[in-house]
């Protein structure tokens, strides 16, 4: 009897002590938990879970996986890498069917917005959030975020040094209208080009964008990376939808391309988010912490030439979808897309 009472008292004590310290009991609480023992809880939990399933659009995923598995032996990363459209399709379809297979999502903000609006993302806390400026976080509350921008690709003007001299290159949006550039400019027909049109509208207004039509701009339906290769080959003299990281890689191989920022540099971001029904939440949080840690950022920046939100650059960055709802962004985006089509049409 004495033993029993002791046991009951012990259980009550244990329960109340964990309650009074706010120990997390479900995924939502765990994600928002910011207690001093967070790291210990996560590591212990992750070891039990043994794995984390990661859906990503990140090029550098294999290297990230290797570094993470080296740091936390006993937690295996299963990665599915795809483009943002397929990733979103899969995530939504699985969630709809009640098959919660994914633990961490890393993709572009429009897809993350769709996930957030469908209530499929859990707000999370990370000690690394303090390194990031507000613009690069999608805040859910004061302490927690829906996602953190773990990498940025910056869009500006790319040109081929063999086709055009550095002194003659446009320095800002207004310069683009110079008649000598007629027939020399190409643009990517996908989101990259449209978002740049958005930046021009923001700085210069719609009338300015419409005047670009006189330049006979050629619209190429290839990805930003392929467009940069065609630029290096000399098929076009310049394009205002070129990614900075691609140019840096080509330059390191002796290629003739250069990148310059214009009035506003569009940031194509990738954010890390936690699915609300993640089966391995401890490992998920550990993995997100790692992605946005100085260590993870260093790999993405040095080896893969992404820009980091943690850093300052000598030009102004713009996140087109920041602060918008899905509907608002879609409306604006469609308008940019339409304008892009208008100015590139014969």
């Amino acid at each position: 009897m004495k033993m029993f009472i002791l046991a009951v008292v012990y259980v009550i004590l244990a329960a109340s002590s964990s309650w009074s310290q706010g120990k997390p009991s479900n995924t939502a609480e765990l994600a928002a938990y910011s207690g001093a023992d967070r790291q210990t809880i996560l590591e212990a939990g992750a070891k039990k879970e043994g794995k984390v399933v990661w859906y990503t659009t990140l090029i550098a995923y294999k290297e990230i996986v290797n570094l993470f598995e080296g740091k936390y032996p006993g937690v295996k990363v299963e990665a599915y890498r795809s483009n943002s459209t397929d990733l979103l399709k899969r995530f939504l379809a699985e969630a709809q069917a009640g098959r919660h297979l994914v633990d961490v999502i890393e993709t572009t903000p429009p897809s993350l917005m769709a996930g957030r609006d469908a209530k499929l993302l859990a707000p999370y806390f990370s000690p690394n959030l303090k390194f990031y400026p507000d613009d690069s976080k999608e805040e859910a509350s004061k302490e927690t975020v829906f996602w953190t921008t773990d990498r940025e690709s910056l869009i500006g003007l790319g040109y081929n040094k063999n086709n055009i001299k550095a002194a003659e290159v446009p320095k800002n949006f207004a310069d683009l209208l110079k008649p000598e550039y007629k027939g020399k400019i190409a643009v990517s027909g996908d989101a990259t080009g449209a978002r740049m049109i958005g930046a021009m509208m923001r700085v210069k207004g719609e009338e300015f964008v419409k005047r670009l039509r006189s330049l006979e701009i050629k619209m190429h339906m290839v990805s930003g990376g392929a467009l940069q290769e065609l630029l290096a080959a000399g098929e076009m003299a310049m394009s205002f939808s070129i990614f900075r990281n691609h140019v840096i890689v080509t330059q390191s191989k002796g290629g003739p391309t250069e990148w310059v920022p214009l009035d506003l540099v569009v940031a194509n971001a990738g954010g890390a988010a936690l699915p609300a029904n993640a089966k391995n939440p401890h490992a998920s949080l550990l993995f997100i912490d790692f992605l946005i840690s100085p260590e993870g950022q260093k790999l993405l920046e040095e080896k893969f030439k992404y820009a980091s939100s943690m850093k300052q650059y000598p030009f102004k960055r713009w996140y087109p979808e920041k602060g918008l709802t899905t509907e608002q962004y879609e409306k604006q985006f469609n308008n940019w897309q339409k304008l892009l089509r208008q100015i590139s049409r014969k």
Binding site: A93, Q96, G189, M219, L230, G254, N334
Partner: protein, 578 residues
């Protein structure tokens, strides 16, 4: 049933025999399999086209997707005209070149016949988008290899501008030429020479024989191929977008697909509405096609008489024929040449002393540097071999039932197998995904989901190959087997199958080579641990390294073509070599 049925022994004469008739049960099983494969995705597409995806009325019935498709078509007259010129131009271009090649290869003594076969196979192995980049590198107006060299020689620049309507037609025609070539080789290979000899005896010259005998005999195959290429180029998006848009040329599909694809979230509703409209259109085309081919016996070219098709001696024209056989594969290989060049370079550049100094194998070592590639290759081989086998087996049986039996609903099999032709990849991937998330089979997250997607997607091609083979084999061969006491299984296994093997093999190899690098479905459906080669190619492509993509595609294609050649040898040992 009645009169027609009574004339063909072995078929269900009386109602009571139906239950015992193996043909009937074969039909039921085949129909059930096809329905299972095709109808759920079709149903998904149909319902998606009528249901609002987003906005305040999400989930409600709507016609807005159809309205929006039709509404996107301003300048309708121009779009229709451009689409018409493009489809007709490329379909006839591919048909003309492919048929000529097939005839030269199978029916003349022109040299380099194997070169034509090999180049056809090689061309299937390279992803379309990679090939288009190859064309841009070769014929781009500013930096294309051909234009740069021609400018040095002639001072004219550019001599050919790829970014134009003629450029679009040319590239699309070259994409389809190898398919036409393989489909047309069958009727030419297995044609009854007595008919041609009769014409020759009657005083016709070679040209007249071709025009009045050879060509009409091949006509059903020609029509089938024409429909395939026409429908494909009508719904082609890649080439109109990659080559037409920089030139400012828009066709129906670029207009519609730009609206569907360039939204920031995919618009399944509109994509589905569009494919429903296409299904109706293709249905009409098929209806007329069936009216032409329903009397298949007229066109049988392999009969019971022993023969080998006569090869025309081209005499002094022989080398012209050979040159044609060589030029056309060369044109196929032209973009590959540009790719091969860039596969040895750190970044894409025209030939120069500096470029020659920079040549290296770096792209090859980095493209193959990852050990996980071996698993992807094994996965790909497995899934492509199984799906090619399944497609060929299923369509062979379907085509046999349609051509040889009198079961009243037999045409349904052909229609079922053809419908996926118009499922857009964008929607079909999701349809399959949702289907296997719902079906209680443990397929989701394994390679098998990709297998099922491939089978559905390539049924329409398989059925055309099977038809081409069956239409040309006369029923009397099967009947004489039956007359000699051969049972149904022996007839199929010992007579029909060996006779059809070359065609079935061509179909098999087509599906095998095209699925092994198929991207639109694989990228959505693969899972961690079931990665396939196409995903590797896509990753290299996304990283923007054309050189690495080229290196990987070239080596991988070479490997698969060698493998295909090995299979071909094995298949020929089994066949009767007609």
């Amino acid at each position: 049933m009645s009169r027609a049925a009574e004339t063909s022994p072995g078929l269900w004469l009386r109602r009571s025999e139906r239950a015992l008739n193996p043909n009937f049960w074969l039909f039921m099983i085949t129909a059930a399999v096809l329905i299972y494969l095709v109808v759920p995705p079709f149903f998904f597409i149909l319902s998606a086209s009528f249901i609002a995806e987003r906005g305040p009325n999400v989930g409600a019935l709507t016609l807005s997707h159809y309205v929006s498709i039709v509404g996107s078509l301003d300048d309708f007259g121009v779009l229709i005209w451009n689409s018409f010129i493009f489809s007709v131009g490329s379909a006839f271009g591919a048909l003309f070149i492919g048929t000529l090649l097939a005839w030269l290869t199978e029916r003349t003594n022109a040299p380099f016949q194997n070169v034509a076969y090999v180049s056809a196979f090689v061309s299937f192995g390279i992803p379309g988008i990679v090939k288009v980049i190859g064309w841009i590198l070769m014929l781009g107006p500013e930096a294309g290899l051909v234009n740069v060299i021609a400018e040095d020689l002639t001072g004219v620049s550019p001599i050919f501008n790829l970014f134009s309507m003629s450029g679009m037609i040319m590239v699309e025609a070259f994409v389809w030429t190898p398919v036409v070539f393989l489909l047309m080789a069958t009727p030419f290979r297995s044609m009854d020479p007595t008919l041609e000899e009769a014409a020759l005896t009657a005083g016709s010259n070679n040209l007249q024989v071709f025009r009045k005998v050879t060509f009409p005999l091949a006509l059903p195959s020609v029509l089938a191929v024409l429909i395939l290429t026409f429908v494909r180029s009508l719904e082609a998006f890649e080439i109109p977008a990659l080559i037409g848009l920089p030139a400012g040329v828009e066709v129906l599909t670029t207009k519609i697909f730009l609206q569907i694809r360039t939204g920031f979230l995919p618009r399944y509703g509109e994509a589905s509405a569009y494919s429903v409209l296409l299904i109706i259109l293709v249905g009409l085309v098929l209806f007329f096609y069936h009216r032409v081919t329903s009397q298949g016996y007229k066109y049988s070219t392999v009969t019971g008489k022993g023969f080998r098709p006569r090869r025309i001696d081209l005499r002094s024209w022989r080398w012209l024929g050979g040159a044609l056989l060589l030029i056309l594969p060369l044109l196929q290989l032209l973009p590959l040449a540009a790719l091969t060049w860039s596969s040895f370079l750190p970044y894409v550049q025209p030939p120069s002393k500096k470029a020659l100094a920079a040549l290296s194998f770096d792209n090859y070592s980095s493209a193959f540097g990852d050990g996980a590639i071996i698993w992807a290759v094994l996965n790909s081989l497995f899934v492509s071999m199984t799906s090619a086998t399944a497609v060929v087996a299923l369509t062979f049986v379907s085509a046999w039932i349609v051509v040889r039996t009198n079961i009243s609903k037999r045409r349904m099999l052909d229609q079922l197998a053809t419908v996926p032709l118009v499922f857009p990849g964008l929607v079909m991937g999701v349809a399959i995904l949702k289907m296997y998330l719902a079906v209680p089979l443990p397929i989701y997250g394994t390679l098998w989901i990709i297998f099922f997607a491939f089978v559905v997607r390539y049924l329409p091609y398989g059925i055309r190959f099977s038809y081409a083979g069956l239409l040309s084999i006369h029923r009397e061969l099967e009947e004489s087997s039956a007359a000699c006491g051969g049972n149904w299984r022996q007839t199929v296994w010992k007579i029909l199958f060996p006779l059809m093997l070359p065609t079935l093999f061509a179909g098999w190899i087509y599906v095998f080579l095209i699925t092994i690098r198929e991207l639109s479905v694989a990228l959505l459906l693969y899972s961690p641990g079931s990665q396939v080669v196409a995903v590797v190619i896509w990753e290299l492509w996304e990283n923007g390294r054309i050189g690495e993509v080229a290196a990987f595609s070239l080596v991988f294609t070479l490997g698969t073509v060698l493998l295909a050649a090995l299979f071909k040898r094995l298949a020929h040992q089994q066949s009767l070599n007609v």
